[in-house]
Symmetry: C2
């Protein structure tokens, strides 16, 4: 029974991730998610409380996976940024979920406990690297991290869309070069 | 008559800008836009063809204003980036329109003639500045521009949302420092 419940909860989460990434929060249909997961709306609400609670759970799970797959390495932030870009390439739904969260909820996802904890850890790692003189300290740690995230999420296909996105290795090289320049003492 | 028609068209555009910025493309209500503009759906469709055509017109107008207000200055890209950030501060709906366009139409807005022309001009200005040795040429021009846009659009309130966004002068300084580092030969 317990195992079935866990499996159902996970199936709902998986389908909710796809639905929210595609349609956003207002556009997502809870009944479509429940049906795709072989469940029903009553069960979904019992697990997640509301559509917003379900989005929180999706967002939380994505951040936890990101932190596990791409732990911060403040001794090599350029490579960290490139690995983040690889991760976004692998899971394109993550950037979409983050963008919907900003547009539709004013970035409420950044206030979830798991996200706050992950951010605090990263800020502290950058602060220590600056204090140790491993990287420059001209940017406050949180601002440097925001610069790194902004750079790691560029797909480089907006200015010349007719050319499509550049090959991953060129993108990776540009990201590493940019971050190297930002952290130089 | 002609003057009335122009005024009506402009009123529809203004209300459509606010409606699309707030609700996105799928979420925007054409009848709400028409009513707010003191017009009706038939008139709106006569002017803009479709909801998508109306979004194109909004996007186009925003880009034209951006290019007029903040022309590129390849001899001082750091200040250009800071002025872009000022502009986004002044017209926050622009970043929202661009984000909806990416999420809901795969960035179709970047293919509009006015946007393609504006982008081509900027790429050429950066290319010339690189050729003249005013800035480094380690990034291809279009990639450097994407880096600059990504940096100019950071609000620096995502990592530590509890602190809110930093004051504009601190944000401006960080943006200029980052771009200065990217363009250094």
């Amino acid at each position: 029974m317990k195992r079935d419940a866990t499996a159902t909860r996970q199936r709902i989460l998986d389908h909710a991730t796809a639905e929210f990434a595609r349609y956003g929060i207002a556009g997502a249909r809870v009944d479509r998610i429940a049906a795709a997961a072989g469940s029903n709306k009553a069960m979904l609400y019992a697990y997640f409380g509301s559509k917003d609670g379900l989005f929180d759970a999706v967002f939380d799970a994505v951040v936890v996976r990101n932190v596990a797959d791409v732990p911060i390495d403040a001794s090599d932030l350029a490579e960290y940024a490139a690995r983040l870009a690889d991760q976004y390439e692998r899971y394109p739904e993550v950037l979409r979920l983050m963008a919907w969260d900003r547009l539709e909820r004013g970035g409420e996802g950044a206030r979830l406990p798991a996200v706050v904890a992950a951010s605090a850890h990263k800020v502290e790692e950058v602060r220590k690297a600056q204090a140790a003189g491993l990287i420059g300290d001209h940017f406050p740690p949180a601002m440097l991290l925001e610069l790194i995230y902004a750079i790691a999420t560029i797909r480089f296909d907006a200015i010349t869309p007719a050319n499509g996105a550049p090959p991953p290795d060129l993108r990776r090289r540009a990201i590493k070069e940019a971050v190297t320049r930002l952290i130089r003492a």
